[in-house]
Amino acid sequence: MSLISVEFLFFCAFVLLLYYLVKDRYRWIVLLLSSLVFYCLAGPKYVLYLLFSATSVYTGARLIDRMNDTRDAYLSEHKDGLNREEKKAYKASVKKKQKRILFLCVLANVLVLFTLKYLDFGIAYFNYYRLLITGNTNLVPQPGLILPLGISFYTFQSLGYVIDVYYGKVKSERNYFRFLLFISFFPQVVQGPISRFSALQQELFSEKRFEMERITSGLYRILWGLFKKLIIADRLSSYVARSAAFRMDYKGPYLLLCIFFYAFQIYGDFSGGIDVAIGVAELFGIRLTENFERPFFSKSIAEYWRRWHITLGTWFRDYIFYPLSVNKGILNLGKWCKKHLGEAVGKRVPVYLPMIAVWALTGMWHGSESKFIVWGLLNCTFLILGTEFEPLSKRIMEKLSLREDMLIVKLYRIFKTFWLMAFLRVFDFVKTPKDGFYLMADVFKRWDSFDLNEIYTTLLLPKEELIVALIAIAVLAAVSTIQRKGSIRAKILTKNAWIQYAGLIGLAAVVLIFGSYGLGYDAQSFIYMKF
């Protein structure tokens, strides 16, 4: 069941009713059961993967935590009997055991994820290179594994949890079923946000009372998500993405338009879905972490990635980047470089190496094809270039007597960041990394003749649809601009009930009418048939 479907709305309404009908302390059970039902609807056997993750991580975390308890008990019991060295050695031995458990836990889950996500692709590669090198034409069959719903998301979320327990940042959850709810909570299981246990635990299990205000606020959030998803993303995707497949003979301007629209398509699609997830959770009185913060207003790529898919970014930062960069080996390597290759290199190695690793992984997260790794590394390259050229750009700014807080400078940076990020997205359209580069180059070709009227036919986007898309994008931009000064919903919620109501109905009607959903677009033409 997609989050963007009538079925899901009915499902939510039903769960919501049940949720507020039962006593407070049973509410989380309603959520757990409905989450499991929701997951089962996507294919009952995939629940096994979810349960495997939940069970292994739950057990691992419990074991690690219990070792902490026995360690503390042992230390306080032998408070005076042990000297400092002995204590330290004892602690280290416990830590070692915990590390082993953590390692097994992470390994098991990562293996499952990798197998499901990349095995088919790996075999394809193997076959290709074996054919190339040995001429062996036998093909190893691909198992054609199907990814269970949201596996990347819940795997990351549960791994984050067990690592936090290992670090002692959170206490492990004793109740298996409560933990299961943390992993499977249905609004977020499909596409995130990737929640932290420390944050979500409180939200899921704290006392809740029915508040109309929260329902209204949640509904606004859901409708806004549907606006982005149905009016912008789905409208554009039914045309632009399709036409992008035939892009090879496109004129530059159209490619540029495709790239422009695709940026909004993917933003509307992803952030709209997240809005729905957050809005639905809000109906239940549960606050999820924000995943987007108006990324198109970013003034640098680094900022962009702090504002786009935030929970994935912080996940990679906390669980990959930091552990790698403060790792003794890396720090020592940095020192060695400092000594032999100079200060400049020594300073960069412990930062850049982990960064490259993180971005290669981020690329892989997005898909198994090699083009995604190239995409990730290109992002990394631009990030590094941004850092390296910062002093230079500062000097240029000084020369031109420009300051960072000047509007023109800000606009220029926003413009630059938007287009750079939009350009890198062309890898989503193409098959191989090489095609991606060709496509980027194609944008600058064939600008000779350009007729505005051709847009509709070339992009397969009728004039009316294009106008709606542009208006919707303008609304999105306007709303985002206003949002910088504070939440619009919060403002609406201070108004009287009828105004709140009118706003909701209006937004719902707009989504209902102008959304791009349902059976094709021929509703008018098809009724004109006689026999």
């Binding site: 009930a497 009607a509 209902l512 009418i513 102008f514 509703a523 009724i527 004109y528 048939m529 026999f531």
Partner: protein, 325 residues
């Protein structure tokens, strides 16, 4: 607020639905059946051939028979079955006359527009759901029928005065299901027997024909199978033979009115509006008179002309028809 929301939502649904009042009027026929204040003794069921060839006004004026054309463009066998089932549930017909013109289409024939025209007007009922189930293409969902906005919202760019004018109130457009055409387009091509694609009646059509025979029997309805006369297409021998055999096996009378073109007095140079596929108003008058005579001579049908309750209502209907309203 709840009531207002519901009202607004239903209004939006109504607004976006095609109105079928100024064009494509057959989309109104299903619903107009429920507007009948008095019972219709005879139901004429089938596809576009029915609503263009059988005129209940003529039947009333000539024979006092009360009748209704429960037909839509491209109405499939399965929809016809549910039209009869639905009619039996809400009224008390005496007889069903089923035109088999559309039974030669394939089992997988599905035309969304035809589905919508026939089903959208149906009252909410279990029968309607069964009908949707039988008729829908894999792409169509129940939800689209329950909330038509899901299917028709993209008409926003085509909404016109008609949509607003007939938002809540819709005038009656058919004459008990009959939709007269006053155009003339003579048949010109040579009349050919259909040879290509000639085959036995397909399984699903045969199944629903069987269902129709059964439901008529269970409800004590007299049943007559007919082929409405048309210049084109002319059924091939295999299909024609199969129809006759099925009728004979089931013990149901079948009349091929193609064979009686001359007796009816049909002249395909003036009696058709599309070169022989469908009858126009003049053609339908001839055919309806002939058919009515056949019905009263062979079946138990009441003449209601002396009944004041009927004659009052039918007088209005006749006036509406003759005034061309």
């Amino acid at each position: 607020m709840g009531a207002l929301t519901l009202f607004l939502f239903l209004s939006v649904n109504l607004l976006f639905m095609p109105k079928y009042i100024e064009e494509n009027k057959d989309g109104r026929i299903t619903e107009e059946f429920y507007r009948e204040k008095m019972n219709s003794d005879v139901l004429f069921v089938g596809s576009s051939t029915v609503f263009s060839a059988i005129n209940p006004i003529v039947l009333w004026e000539e024979y006092g028979i009360t009748s209704f054309d429960r037909a839509n463009a491209s109405q499939t066998a399965w929809i016809s079955y549910f039209m009869i089932k639905d009619a039996v549930e809400v009224s008390d017909p005496e007889m069903v006359v089923l035109d088999l013109s559309f039974f030669r289409y394939e089992d997988d024939y599905v035309e969304e527009a035809a589905n919508r025209k026939a089903i959208d007007g149906m009252r909410p009922s279990k029968t309607k759901f069964q009908c949707i189930q039988a008729a829908r293409s894999p792409d169509e969902t129940y939800m689209d029928y329950v909330f038509p906005i899901g299917r028709f919202h993209s008409r926003w760019q085509y909404l016109n005065a008609e949509d607003w004018k007939y938002l809540y109130y819709k005038p009656t457009v058919s004459y008990n299901g009959y939709l007269p055409s006053f155009d003339v387009e003579p048949a010109q091509a040579e009349r050919k027997t259909q040879v290509e694609d000639d085959s036995l009646m397909s399984d699903r059509n045969a199944l629903f024909l069987d269902n129709i025979i059964t439901i008529c029997r269970e409800n004590d309805l007299q049943l007559l199978l007919i082929k409405i006369p048309s210049y084109q297409p002319k059924w091939g021998e295999i299909f024609d033979g199969d129809v006759r055999m099925i009728a004979e096996d089931a013990g149901v009378r079948y009349v091929d009115f193609d064979e009686e073109t001359e007796a009816i007095g049909l002249d395909y140079s003036i009696d058709t509006d599309d070169g022989g596929g469908h009858l126009n108003d003049a053609g339908s008058a001839k055919f309806t008179k002939y058919l009515g005579n056949f019905l009263v001579s062979n079946y138990q049908l009441q003449d209601h002309r002396e009944d004041p309750a009927y004659s009052k209502i039918w007088k209005e209907k006749c006036e509406r028809y003759h005034n061309g309203e």
